[in-house]
Symmetry: C2
Subunit: 428 residues, 2 copies
């Protein structure tokens, strides 16, 4: 099956109008670089990278730059040497200069590679999590880019992790199909929401069965304390409350703020400072223990995750499905987390991220980390109506998706209406 | 003086045809996102970010994304709160998602900010190094972005560094105007050059007064040893020979390769592994001491430099003039290096990088680090003929540029001929 065309569309949802997704530094219109891979066979592949309004058009330019490396290739040729293909795309002797493996070019690569995984899964008639769970340990390792991480994880070590858990995979697959994967909710505590809305959303989420909630914090110390008191009083002492700073603090400020917030019993502190700051996260983690640090949604690649783990900076690994280099690089990060014994709690929300990461969380539990303790996949209740196969969260658990592919195909009418700037939502 | 338009051109030079610039991972056509800021006053501002062929067009899209944040602003309003302006561009609540401060968007920001510095210097009638040297310590600090680095360098500490060296600035300015700044040459040892060409270029460079040479190394251990022997035999034991791996090794491989190459007395080992790998560089630095590690040309921002310094990973700081956020972020990095006592040896070459970094090296010596010991600015003898005011290197020293601005304006005929894909060099 040959890839005959790569199409990219700039799709934007006007979420900033309602302050959905508002946090200390971001206020965006949830958007996507939406990639379609056409083939000469019966299947089409879909992938996207999540963006936040302005700048999505730069991703469209990046998608075009990958055309010469992708179009004309056979799916079977790619999957037979997926690691080699990954490196040809990320280490192109010219394109690598504007990376390597970071920023909008790498994010767009995530959309392209995920579209190839979608295509592969459709051809196999399986959801991506099941395609992955059915690969042999060696087939899995052959998809993983190990460049620059062998000081922390060698291919042999990765193989050993996969082989150790292979005999018990089947039981966990049954469990996931029956029970689903635990979710926590971020929908309750956006920074721009008025107090009454936060109270109402907390009550609704508790009624839906959620036991783990997240709130946004900012540079405003008094405001943080006030809102933390509000959230904690609504959910009570027995449920989990995580706090997300979205990078707004310097290292010293983070330590002071978290110490002040400690009396509200935060489960984790998310993105306390720059996503590039391995040593900063390590210093914060040491200072605020036993409260754990979580980060990952804006960590650019496996080299950053490797260091966060080596430095003991990461309490929870919040890998994103499309900021890094697609399923291939996600596999590297999941394997690193498994080696270092750090639970993976994937980042979701935005548009399509929940649809993506349910596959990753379920696969990780089945194949790499057979403990459900302290494992949660983020859930945000926006924009699912635009997907052909939206997530199903029942009693605060992601139900395992069963349709072939990566669940990221959007409805044609949604794409047309939200295409920027020509779609009906954006005209006038 | 109001900025009335931001124009960006995709300019490419076909350097790959002669294997100029060939190294372990890169083989490019030296290129630039060339930015022009038009004003309602007598001056025009010029800036560029260096790229390597494919992907330059993505930078053009990024430049357009900055238009809404730059066009219509007064130069005086920007320079009166340059730190605030920097943060408005780098922490835009939508655009920051595809960064923050990394990849092609941040590189293009470097071009835009440098064009503003060029404009400011032209209005003052000074070269950029002199504009900087004439700022008071407080004015300088007010241009610097401190977000995310205050755990290593506070504004007060930066001010103290500047004030400490202010009384002796004048003497070093006289010295720089008289003697220039020492250069080393990279033109001798590109990976794709045949042995005879390397021998000839070494002899020519020695005749020009160079005492410090750089060669490229790769994954090929035998080849590295053979070429190191050749270079060392040509330049003799008394001159300095640095080696540049351009990121091609993993951490363990880097240590083994450098130990094998140690008998050729390398002055520094440059880019031994991923530019994102702070802990990896620290491990390499510990293992190969007293040989020093150098890196910087692909380090994405001040947060990475901060950590390399905190970790003791950096023997020489090779800041680039346009990968990071223009003069503003370069100032943060120079101040960090000064605080940690690490010599700055800026990255140059490509197209326009020598023209840029001569200003940074001269300013750093005058204002921040009053020692010339072990200080070299990289020099590569390509493509200077395309600049209105090209660098002048005499007896292996950069002569202080005296024309107003940042020396980065290119000749109109060169721009027209090399514009991609329509210029005469690229047609047919």
């Amino acid at each position: 099956m040959k890839i005959t065309a790569l199409r990219a569309r700039d799709v934007r949802f006007p979420t900033s109008r309602e302050m959905d997704g508002s946090d200390a530094l971001n206020l965006g219109d949830y958007s996507a670089v939406y990639v379609t891979l056409e083939t000469d066979g019966p299947h089409t592949g879909y992938g996207l990278t999540f963006t936040n309004g302005h700048g999505t058009e730069i991703g469209i330019a990046a998608a075009r730059a990958f055309e010469r490396l992708v179009v004309g290739r056979e799916l079977e040729e790619i999957t037979a040497d997926f690691r080699g293909f990954y490196h040809r795309l990320t280490q192109d002797p010219q394109l690598r200069w504007i990376g390597p493996e970071k920023g909008i070019v790498h994010m767009t690569l995530g959309a392209v590679l995920n579209a190839i995984w979608d295509l592969w899964a459709r051809r196999e008639g399986k959801p991506v999590w099941k395609l992955l769970a059915d690969l042999t340990p060696q087939q899995t390792v052959d998809c993983v880019p190990f460049m620059w991480i062998t000081d922390a994880l060698t291919p042999d070590e990765a193989l050993a992790i996969l082989e150790r858990h292979a005999p018990t995979r089947a039981g966990r697959e049954v469990e996931m199909r029956r029970d689903g994967f635990p979710a926590y909710t971020t929908s309750t505590g956006w920074l721009g929401y008025p107090d009454e809305k936060v109270r109402r959303l907390c009550r609704e989420a508790m009624a839906q069965g959620f036991t783990h909630f997240k709130m946004k914090v900012s540079a405003d110390r008094e405001g943080n304390l006030r809102r933390a008191a509000l959230m904690r009083s609504e959910i009570g002492p027995g449920r989990r409350l995580s706090m997300d700073a979205n990078q707004c603090w310097d290292v010293g400020e983070a330590i002071e703020q978290v110490k002040a917030l400690a009396r509200f019993d935060p489960w984790w502190i998310e993105e306390p400072t720059s996503p590039d700051d391995v040593l900063g996260h390590a210093a914060i983690a040491r200072a605020i223990a036993p409260i754990k640090v979580a980060t990952g949604e804006m960590c650019q690649n496996r080299v950053i995750f490797k260091q966060l783990l080596q430095a003991g900076a990461l309490g929870y690994c919040q890998v994103d499905a499309c900021r890094v280099g697609g399923v291939n690089e996600v596999l590297a990060i999941l394997l690193l987390a498994a080696k270092f014994g750090v639970p993976v709690c994937p980042h979701a929300g935005g548009v399509g991220l929940c649809e993506y990461v349910q596959h990753l969380a379920i696969y990780d539990y089945i194949a790499l980390n057979p403990s459900i303790e302290n494992r949660y996949c983020e859930y945000v209740d926006h924009l699912h109506e635009h997907f052909v196969h939206p997530v199903r969260v029942v009693n605060a658990r992601y139900q395992a998706p069963l349709e072939p592919g990566y669940s990221i195909e959007m409805k044609a009418a949604s794409l047309d209406a939200h295409e920027y700037p020509g779609g009906s939502v954006w005209r006038g």
